[in-house]
């Protein structure tokens, strides 16, 4: 399968997984908050495609796609959303707190901007240990109004840390349009104030995203210091499940849907129906298998409630 077809398959896999989550949420199988990545798949897919396996990723609460693309199995993600012990975080994190040590996925974070310091810390460790590794920090444009963004951008550039900041600019921070939260709405220009290379890319064109990410990651690995990538994209569904979308009008959504990243690539590749259908069937099977696995997985034993508050071998374990 050529790289491009692989990118198409990756995006479709995320799309179908997220659609199934919306359905399961409406049937009360998934609870809590649910933020899906439908419409923005090209950004994570493009960036992840240029990473090495042990590169690190720090994401946000809209992270199912990132987790899957960084190597987490659909089973572990779905079981986590069901709150089952077989989930990637033993059912304790849920949709907003997926973690996977083996795949270097340092989690979702429900605090907007909460992930920036973790990401630059990981990069600091890489730099001090001379490790040839890149840390990618995903965030929404809303996070750029948080103090942590300014502090972290400055520190990263100041200490020349190997970190790639990827801003998924989907034009709305929950219900607040970009122009109503940022004085400078050209986010790349805003980022360049920190003397950091900052580019804008069409977040709906996975090939463009991959190309930009490739250039940034190569520069970082060569010691070129942190880079900033603004991917202009759009979420086709509400911010979360309980959002009447009063802040944007339907025409705008339809306009962006015409540039659905999956359709764009599919048409560009002029893929034959037979290959497409095979992709659909394989993905449908994988998703259903994940749902069945989650349905049949056991809950965590309540007796383990206190487990891992402290490390099991610590003398503080089990004490308050």
């Amino acid at each position: 399968m050529s790289d491009s077809v692989e990118l198409l398959r990756s995006m479709l896999r995320v799309r179908r997984f997220e659609e199934r989550c919306v359905e399961l949420y409406s049937q009360t199988k998934i609870r809590g908050f649910l933020h899906v990545y439908i419409g923005e798949e090209a950004v994570a897919t493009g960036v992840m495609s240029v990473l090495e396996p042990d590169d690190a990723v720090v994401a946000t609460y809209r992270e199912h796609g990132h987790g899957l693309l960084k190597g987490m199995t659909a089973r572990k993600v779905m079981a986590e959303m069901y709150g089952k012990v077989t989930g990637c975080s033993r059912g304790r994190g849920g949709s907003m707190h997926l973690f996977d040590k083996e795949n270097g996925f340092y989690g979702g974070n429900a605090i907007v901007g909460g992930g920036f310091p973790t990401a630059i810390g990981l990069a600091l460790a890489d730099k001090m240990l001379d490790r040839d590794r890149v840390t990618v920090c995903f965030f929404g444009e809303g996070a750029m109004a948080e103090g942590e963004w300014h502090e972290s951008m400055n520190l990263a550039q100041l200490w020349n840390l190997p970190v790639l900041f990827v801003c998924e600019n989907n034009l709305y921070a929950m219900g607040t349009a970009l122009s109503r939260s940022e004085s400078e709405t050209n986010l790349a220009i805003k980022a360049s104030a920190y003397e950091m290379p900052a580019w804008t890319v069409d977040g709906m064109d996975v090939l463009a995203v991959a190309d930009a990410a490739r250039r940034a990651v190569d520069a970082i690995r060569a010691g070129g210091g942190p880079h900033f990538l603004e991917a202009r994209t759009y979420r086709f569904r509400a911010h979360s499940m309980f959002d009447p979308e009063l802040y944007r009008d339907k025409e705008e959504v339809l306009k962006w849907r015409e540039r659905d990243p999956i359709d764009l690539l599919r048409n560009a590749l002029d893929l034959d129906d037979q290959t497409w259908q095979q992709m659909e069937d394989e993905i449908a099977a994988e998703v259903e298998d994940a749902v069945t696995f989650a349905e049949e997985s056991p809950d965590e034993d309540v007796a383990d409630l206190m487990l891992f508050v402290y490390s099991p071998d610590s003398s503080a374990a089990g004490r308050i």
Binding site: S26, T28, M241, D281, A284, E288
Partner: protein, 445 residues
């Protein structure tokens, strides 16, 4: 056939009002297509269908408020496909949609609290009702979101098994401040209780501390004259009985000549310490009668509460003229010798003022006996919250009709005082008859 349910659109959404249908029966619908508008606590939200097919029937009228999970419409799934909307060929999905339709119940006979829910078998709905749970509260783990018994218990379990309904929370005016207790430290209370020291006797300037109790040496052994306090306690109890309990009495005299003869032989072979007194016979007979007529053996707390065992209260006159009624817990488990030994010990400690806390708790029925050269007849006052008292008169030779002839027999008159709120004459009489039968058939005692 797919069932289109009221979707859950948020973590805290239990129910929704169908505002508007965007489709009609017979319309074709595609997966992801908006088919209705639902009003929630936040605002109206477009709701999409997750299956491609044809609308078979709309089940809910616009404007109806229904819990999450309620079926809103039936959709004939086109070949039960679950793939991309415009796909030509169709793949058999893991679960067949048709099975859901068969399980939809006919109109439910018993009154369903809300619109009929196909996923909820009546026992499940009843169980949820018991825990005050709504469909939205429970995550169905069975096929097609079927809610199982385990799910309900788990959901209830989450709230500790006790239904925590969001009921209006009253504000209670603070009751008047209680009279301040004498200042005694927790340690002092513990030591006093362990050493059987009466805290009132420990005189100190500040609060009574553990050290005070440790260094306290009780005054000379002469028993503390507590008759005044005891008199006050009895007075309070008796006036409460008079205020609250509508007494009625049933009386009978029994010829116990044979029984006493039986007792003489029973005692003949025993050392004095092990001999059984007539008083114990009345206790035993009362126990047997209480077991035969349980309506008399319990307490009145706005309604009658029968007692599991027979906790026999025994009225004991103390040497200083007071009266105390310690109880023998589970007296039904003691035979005559057991009752005698227990009674001897109880009376001895009652007279010395060294009864244990548990013994002073109210029993389930009381016997007041003046058998030793006492008056013929005794109308006793019931000890609240009990519902009956057995009064035993003096044992003495009296004229008595035997086989139509007048004869001199040793007899005893037993009065049963009973609480008319709990029982009626007929029950009191049945109890007295059972007591009499036991009293006159010693081999049964």
């Amino acid at each position: 056939m797919g069932m289109f349910l009221m979707p859950s659109l948020g973590a805290d959404m239990d129910e929704g009002t169908l505002l508007e249908w965007m489709v009609a029966p017979g319309d074709e619908v595609k997966k992801g297509q908006v088919v209705a508008v639902v009003d929630t606590a936040k605002s109206a939200i477009d709701v999409e269908v997750f299956e491609t097919g044809v609308v078979a029937e709309l089940l809910i009228e616009p404007g109806t408020l229904v819990p999450v999970g309620t079926p809103l419409a039936r959709i004939e799934v086109q070949g039960a496909g679950k793939s991309a909307p415009d796909a030509a060929s169709v793949v058999e999905p893991a679960r067949v949609a048709e099975s859901v339709v068969e399980s939809a119940p006919e109109p439910v006979a018993e009154p369903a609290p809300s619109a009929p829910l196909p996923h909820l078998a009546p026992p499940i709905r009843h169980l949820m009702h018991q825990f005050g749970l709504k469909p939205g509260d429970v995550r169905g783990s069975g096929p097609d979101g079927q809610i199982t018994r385990k799910d309900v218990l788990a959901a209830a379990g989450e709230s500790g098994g006790i239904a925590v309904a969001a009921a209006p929370v009253p504000t209670i005016p603070a009751p008047p401040a209680p009279p301040s207790r004498p200042r005694v430290t927790p340690r002092a209370r513990r030591l006093a209780q362990q050493r059987g020291i009466d805290l009132n006797a420990v005189q100190t300037s500040g609060p009574v501390t553990g050290a005070d109790v440790e260094s306290f040496t009780p005054k000379a052994k002469t028993p503390v004259d507590r008759s005044a306090a005891m008199r006050k306690a009895t007075a309070a109890l008796m006036s409460r009985a008079a205020r609250e309990i509508p007494h009625y009495y049933v009386v009978n005299t029994f010829d116990i000549t044979a029984t006493l003869e039986w007792l003489r032989e029973f005692n003949a072979g025993r050392k004095p310490r092990d001999r059984v007194l007539p008083a114990v016979l009345f206790l035993r007979a009362t126990v047997l009668a209480a077991q035969a007529v349980p309506e008399m053996n319990g307490t009145w707390e706005d309604e009658y509460v029968p007692s599991a065992g027979v906790d026999l209260g025994v009225a004991v006159a103390t040497r200083t003229g007071g009266l105390v009624t310690p109880r023998i817990v589970a007296a039904q488990d003691l035979d005559l010798s057991g009752l005698m030994a227990h009674l001897t010990d109880l009376v001895k400690r009652a007279k010395a003022g060294r009864l244990k806390g548990g013994e002073l708790q109210p029993g389930s029925i009381t016997v007041s006996s003046l058998a030793d050269n006492g008056p013929d007849l005794l109308y006793g006052v019931i000890y609240p919250p009990q519902v009956a008292l057995v009064g035993v008169g003096g044992v003495a030779p009296r004229p008595f009709v035997v086989d139509g002839e007048l004869a001199v027999r040793t007899t005893v008159t037993v009065t049963v005082s009973a609480d008319h709120r709990a029982t009626d004459g007929r029950t009191g009489a049945r109890f007295l008859a059972a007591l009499g039968k036991a009293l006159t058939h010693p081999e049964e005692l």
